[in-house]
Amino acid sequence: MQVIFALLKFALLNNLFLIIVSSIIFFLLFLNHSYAQVSNLEVDSTNVQTLKEVIISATRVERQLSSLPLPATIISKKAISRSNSNTLDQILQSQTGLTTVPDFGGGEGLQMQGLDSQYTLILLNGSPLIGRSAGTFNLKRINLGNIRQIEIVKGASSSLYGSEALAGVINIVTEKPTVGLSNYINYSLSTHNSNDFSYSMNNLLNNTGFDFFFNRNSSDGYDLNENDELMTVDPFVNYTINGSLTYDLKDKTKFSLSTRYYNNVQDNVASSSLKGLSEIDEWNTNFKINYSPNSKWDSFLELYFTNYLAKENLNNLDGSLYDENFYDHSLFKPELRNIYRISNNKIIVGGIGLSIEKLNRTYFEVKPIFKSPYIYIQYDYYPIEDLNLIIGSRFDSHNKYKSQFSPKLALRYKINEKISTKFSLGYGYKAPDFRQLYFDFTNSLVGYSVLGYNVAVESISLMQSQGKISNIIYSLDDLKGELKAENSISFNLGFNYILNSEISFDLNIFRNTIKDLIDTRVIANKTNGQNVFSYYNVNNVFTHGLEFNSKWNPSNSLTINSGFQLLYAKDSDAIKSFNNGEVYARKNPNSPAFQLKKKDYFGLYNRSRTMINININYDLFQENIELNLKGKYRSKYGIIDSNYNNFLDSYDEFVNGYALIDFTLNKKINKKYNVGFGIDNVFDFKDYQNITNISGRIFYAKLNLNFNQ
């Protein structure tokens, strides 16, 4: 008992959240002994279709989606092919509560539960993908040609995956070898001369299997504003090659080796006289040994290596070099994971691993290396037949910032055959990235400087000795502590109601409370009148809201899915400023300022209060013709502080709400041929000033050939 008290006291001093979780863990461990073992990991749901859906990223062990205590969805191969999406951004946009936010050069990052792209971890077969530009992961990098399913897990998942899994996790699962040789060719042509060609081959013979995939994707880009000399999205060509080999040794041991290569070359145009290229090279290699001596044990040894290299150059008209920069990021991650099935209703998953990250780039004086060994454990069990509990936690040690402990608790209770409820509470964090720690950049044109936290003191001292600093705003001693990881507590409460075999509803209420958000501030003034910026922990923000999904199958040939998200994403300090009457605005430059009221605070940039999506599938002539109609609505949102009071308020200019409608028709000619036709953005919606990733109406046609044996 004393130990427990000591622990509680420790927790009380540190974090209320830790108290709750640790006490629940203790409670559950005791509770566990008092219940008879009830077999129940497999059976659930009245819906036969969903019974088959198995998700792996949510618990790192194959779990039936419908019985999972976490808010998660799966996008199946079938749904991907029906939608005719070529890249990951297209398919994710049509999911409830997800939207994409445009980034420079036509990239698109994901927003989940109102959190930015940098807080969602993207996995490829369970291993993290790297290569982010200022935190944004460009979803267009992922071609969907050989994707078997996409798993979306919402809510902090750092208890399994560590850093970045703050808003949630997206896992992309590629095809695995299956018996019988199959060959696929896919080709689609669309507006803007966009071409997408894929070839894939797959076979499993005795104990050896392979899968090969090749894709070429290119486009002439587009220009939404003809009045300037730049294009909105410059022309590009990219290639994806993916190969995997599997080998089974005497049933107990399985080997697999998979590797993926991605190359993208895009024009880089800064003005009519400055042109060049920007290129991305990405490698991912994963070697896995799976040893299962009996039905209870599964051991996995995984060696994962990935490298992301981005290069950019700009040349003058005479061909001489104007500017070039590069970004070379690599990650090596060995992991040993064990799954132990104590009984039918108790599974323990544990893992131990090491993550070694390196970055070499322009504007860095150093070549930093992050080393982070980690360990995690998760216990998944049914104390009683209708109650499933998952408790887990992970510890990440790190050589450059504070170590992190990430607990998580999730439970699902089946109230009756029709209603079930889910609850999850977890800690998520995002470690300071290389840029926030090591950036050492001075703008040659304007003269301001941006310094990473770990190099700020040294660089300021150097500038001081060179006589470039006129005034230091924060004493250098203030900059000597550690920059903290951005962290959050994520809460989800869900209800699932199955009215009958045709109609079901899902409701999820969420809240993410984020602390220590990293931002930049001025730490010193320079003698040239400019400032020196550095990173620091500042903001406390929260996002909360609800997500509602409904499924309706009026007949075998018709399915109607719809979803809705209500979101409030705000900065707690901003709320205080509004409450204290410290915020002012001016209607136009010639009118005097006036004080804003509490209700005038809108929230964070780029967040819509409501988003609605609807998806209708209709099959005709024994599924020989598939029709699909998709709609997506986003309510108004702000992208700039147009009245310069540093807050997004009701007197700022907003991007108007909009709706997009997509239509597709796929026809099966015979067993070997499929053709498809579609229109994206049927009503040709465009907003060239604010929304650069919507190019207007797109027509496309596709052809699909398969030679299966």
Partner: protein
């Protein structure tokens, strides 16, 4: 009853003493708007900033060429007061007055009293109106490069001869366009409202 008497007595005393002060009538507070006050600079963009400050006198409401009869000076986004010492940049005028300044939060209508404890003078370490985006009177937008007066910032000044004034800067661009373009609209043209208290010792506007 005793209290009432006391109250009456004090009322009488105050009335009498007020009357005795009225022999010098107060001047009216001056409220005015200045448009397109040009404040050029040379240098910048990583080079040392140079050029004469455009000096302004609240008493005249006009630009001042005098080396003593000025209250505040403008050069680019930098605002100086006639009080304290030079920061050491080129072409700064000599401060020979008792001027000072501070930045108050509020509107012209809400900042009604001068807080004399808040005044700072220019010094070699920092100006009374601190420079840089978000530090003083303006916000710089890194994407559009537009300099915008931060709403809710009222600059309160002590003049060179110890009187008080407050200003609200409205625009940094010529003819104060509704949405300035940093590349086409001429900058360093101040438009501001000011209120000047011409009476010695009066700390309210």
């Amino acid at each position: 009853m005793k209290t009432l008497k006391l109250l009456f007595l004090s009322f009488l005393i105050i009335s009498l003493s007020s009357c005795s002060d009225d022999d010098e009538p107060l001047l009216d507070v001056i409220s005015n708007k200045v448009t397109n006050f040009h404040a050029p600079q040379a240098g910048g963009m990583g080079q040392p900033i140079t050029g004469e400050f455009a000096k302004f006198s609240f008493a005249t409401g006009l630009q001042s060429s005098s080396s003593t009869e000025w209250d505040i000076g403008f050069r680019g986004t930098t605002i100086i007061v006639n009080g304290g010492t030079a920061t050491g940049t080129a072409d700064e005028p000599t401060r020979n007055g008792q001027g000072g300044a501070y930045v108050a939060s509020g509107t012209m209508a809400s900042v009604l009293d001068v807080d004399t404890t808040k005044f700072k003078q220019d010094a070699s370490s920092a100006l009374a109106i601190t420079t840089g985006s978000g530090n003083g009177w303006y916000t710089y937008n890194g994407q559009s490069h537009v300099i915008s007066p931060t709403p809710g910032k009222i600059l309160v000044f002590k003049t060179h001869d110890g009187l008080y004034a407050k200003i609200e800067i409205l625009s940094y661009y010529k003819d104060s366009p509704a949405s300035p373009n940093a590349f086409t609209d001429p900058s360093r043209y101040y438009t501001f409202n000011y209120i000047y208290q011409p009476n010695k010792g009066q700390t309210s506007f």
